[in-house]
Structures are given as structure tokens and as C-alpha cells.
């Protein structure tokens, strides 16, 4: 698997998908106007992951803001991970939220209700 590192901007998140350092993270703000363009390489990476799964992979999602279009893309990523998990690869997702951010906590809870994979909520 290749490594993806995309530095955060004012309206796009920091993305690290780094198998050699066992680091998998999407963090910051995800508000791009064209989400499909921004997430294209990220989705591509998760498509590849299905062919060569990484055992015990932990994906951290730590977002400050996301728009509804990103919300759909994040769901697509989680559904892809669910597929990989149900094919027998151990993995998990950690959804971080600020202790004062009840909407972000609720967003995590809603994802965990939809996708069938180990999903942990973590306050910070």
C-alpha cells in the first residue's frame, strides 16, 4: 500500500494514510466545495485497501467541522471499511470529539449506528 499525506488547508482536512508508520488519520476541517475531487485519492486508497488489507488498522477521525457533502464521503469510507472488516480483517475506527461539541459527538454516534465495525467514541 502506498502512503498518502495531504496537509490541511482552511477548508480541507489533514489526511495521513501511512502503513509503514501505522498511522491512519483524517483531521481538521472538511468543507471543500467539490468533495468528490478532494476525496478521490483517499477513496482510491481505501479501494486498494480492500485488495491488500492491513491487519489491526485503526483509523482516527478527528474533525472540527465538516459539511454535509463530506459527511456522505466519510460514510462511504466507513462502509468500505465495514466491508473489509466483514471479510475477516481486524480493524477499528476512533471518532474524536471535543468535550464541548455535542453535535460532533452525535455525528459519531450516528455513524456507529449505521456501520457494522468496531467504532469507538473518544472525547478530548
Amino acid at each position: 500500500m502506498e502512503t498518502i499525506k495531504i496537509a490541511a488547508t482552511e477548508d480541507t482536512p489533514n489526511v495521513i494514510l501511512d502503513p509503514s508508520n501505522n498511522q491512519f488519520e483524517i483531521s481538521g476541517r472538511s468543507l471543500p466545495e467539490d468533495v468528490v475531487v478532494f476525496y478521490q485519492p483517499v477513496m482510491q486508497w481505501f479501494e486498494e485497501l480492500e485488495k491488500t488489507p492491513i491487519e489491526n488498522m485503526a483509523l482516527s477521525i478527528k474533525l472540527e467541522y465538516f459539511n454535509t457533502a463530506s459527511s456522505k464521503l466519510i460514510l462511504d469510507i466507513l462502509l468500505k471499511l465495514e466491508e473489509i472488516f466483514q471479510n475477516g480483517t481486524k480493524l477499528n475506527v476512533i471518532w474524536y470529539y471535543l468535550s464541548s461539541d455535542s453535535d460532533m459527538k452525535e455525528a459519531g454516534e450516528e455513524y456507529s449506528e449505521i456501520v457494522g465495525l468496531p467504532f469507538k467514541l473518544a472525547e478530548y
Binding site: 477548508d11 468543507l31 467541522y65 459539511n67 454535509t68 457533502a69 456522505k72 460514510l75 461539541d101 450516528e110
Partner: protein, 196 residues
């Protein structure tokens, strides 16, 4: 309102004669931001960053500030992504975005041109979200997101549902017909101030 007599506040015969009534109108409605013109993602970022800094400096409670930011993102991108094609007979109406307040609420207002054939699905969605309670909105949001496709640009998508959930108030709207093809769609969103 004095402004009704002449809509030209600063470019008419007496450029400053009516400015005071405009100033008063802004002041009495606690209007902190008005933008009227072309909307793009670059402009959206500027408006968002201005608003974020302003609300932070005024120590607006975190959850309220985040709700305003989130709703603003959806409104502004809704305008910039759904621009009507400007043809010869298209009414010359620039899109408008306003942030104001009263004692109890922050008010976000948007107004933009829409094609008449896009009104029905949008109106249905607005009436639907206004008829649902918190749990109903949550379920609708989950269903629509699961089945959403990015080719759907009808404007009746998930943004309105998210706005309704975050505002926790009824969405006021109107459609003002300009001609047989176009109308102006206006939306007023209320975000209750944190009760102290």
C-alpha cells in the same frame, strides 16, 4: 422606511441624504454582516473566517458558534454551487447573505435566484423538515445521506435537513416570482442564543 422613496442611497443626486436610514436599519436589526454579489468558495471562506473571528471575540458560547458556522457553510455553498446560468433574459438579481440578531436569536438570511422548475422539490423538503421533530429529522438525515448521489443538484438534498437539525427552529422561507422562469428564494434561519 425612507429608503423606499429612492433605492439609490449613495449614487443618486444627493448621495448621502438617505444613508442615515440605511445605517439605522442596520443598527436596529443588529446586522453584523451583509454581502450581496457573486458567491464562490473563496468568498465563502472569507465570510466564514470573518464570522468565526467576530463570534469568538464576542465570546459567543462554543456550541452556538459552531452551529452558526456549520449552517453558514451549508447556506453559502448552496448558493455558490447552485448558481443559475446567466442568460439574456435572466433577472439581474445578485445573491444576498445577512447575519443579524435579536435579543433571543441569531438570524441567518439568504436570498438567491432559482429556476421555477426547481421550486417544488425544495419547497417539499422545507415543509417536510418543518413538520418533523428532532428524532424525525435525525432519521431523515440518515436515510437521505445513505441514498445521496453527487449528481443530484436539485437543491433538495441533505443540506436543508442539516440546517433544520442544527437550528432547532422552524425554517422560514419565501419564493418571489420574477418571471415565468425565475424566482427569488429567501430563507431565514434562527439559532437561539444560549440561555444564561
Amino acid at each position: 422606511m425612507e429608503i423606499d422613496k429612492t433605492s439609490k442611497i449613495i449614487s443618486g443626486q444627493r448621495p448621502l441624504a438617505h444613508l442615515y436610514s440605511f445605517h439605522k436599519l442596520m443598527n436596529e436589526n443588529d446586522i453584523m454582516l451583509v454581502y450581496c454579489g457573486d458567491f464562490s468558495q473563496e468568498l465563502n471562506k472569507t465570510l466564514l473566517s470573518f464570522t468565526e473571528r467576530k463570534f469568538k471575540s464576542e465570546n459567543v458560547e462554543d456550541n452556538t458558534r459552531r452551529k452558526i458556522f456549520n449552517i453558514m457553510v451549508e447556506i453559502l455553498q448552496n448558493i455558490s454551487k447552485n448558481k443559475v446560468e446567466m442568460l439574456e433574459d435572466t433577472p439581474q438579481v445578485d445573491a444576498l447573505f445577512i447575519i443579524g440578531a435579536n435579543n433571543e436569536e441569531y438570524l441567518l438570511i439568504s436570498s438567491n435566484l432559482i429556476m421555477n422548475n426547481k421550486i417544488a422539490p425544495l419547497k417539499n423538503r422545507l415543509d417536510q423538515v418543518n413538520s418533523l421533530d428532532k428524532e424525525g429529522l435525525k432519521q431523515l438525515y440518515k436515510d437521505v445521506r445513505l441514498n445521496a448521489s453527487f449528481s443530484d443538484k436539485s437543491g433538495a438534498g441533505i443540506g436543508i435537513i442539516d440546517i433544520a437539525r442544527k437550528s432547532e427552529n422552524r425554517l422560514d422561507y419565501s419564493f418571489e416570482e420574477m418571471n415565468s422562469e425565475y424566482s427569488v428564494f429567501s430563507l431565514l434561519i434562527r439559532i437561539s442564543k444560549e440561555k444564561i
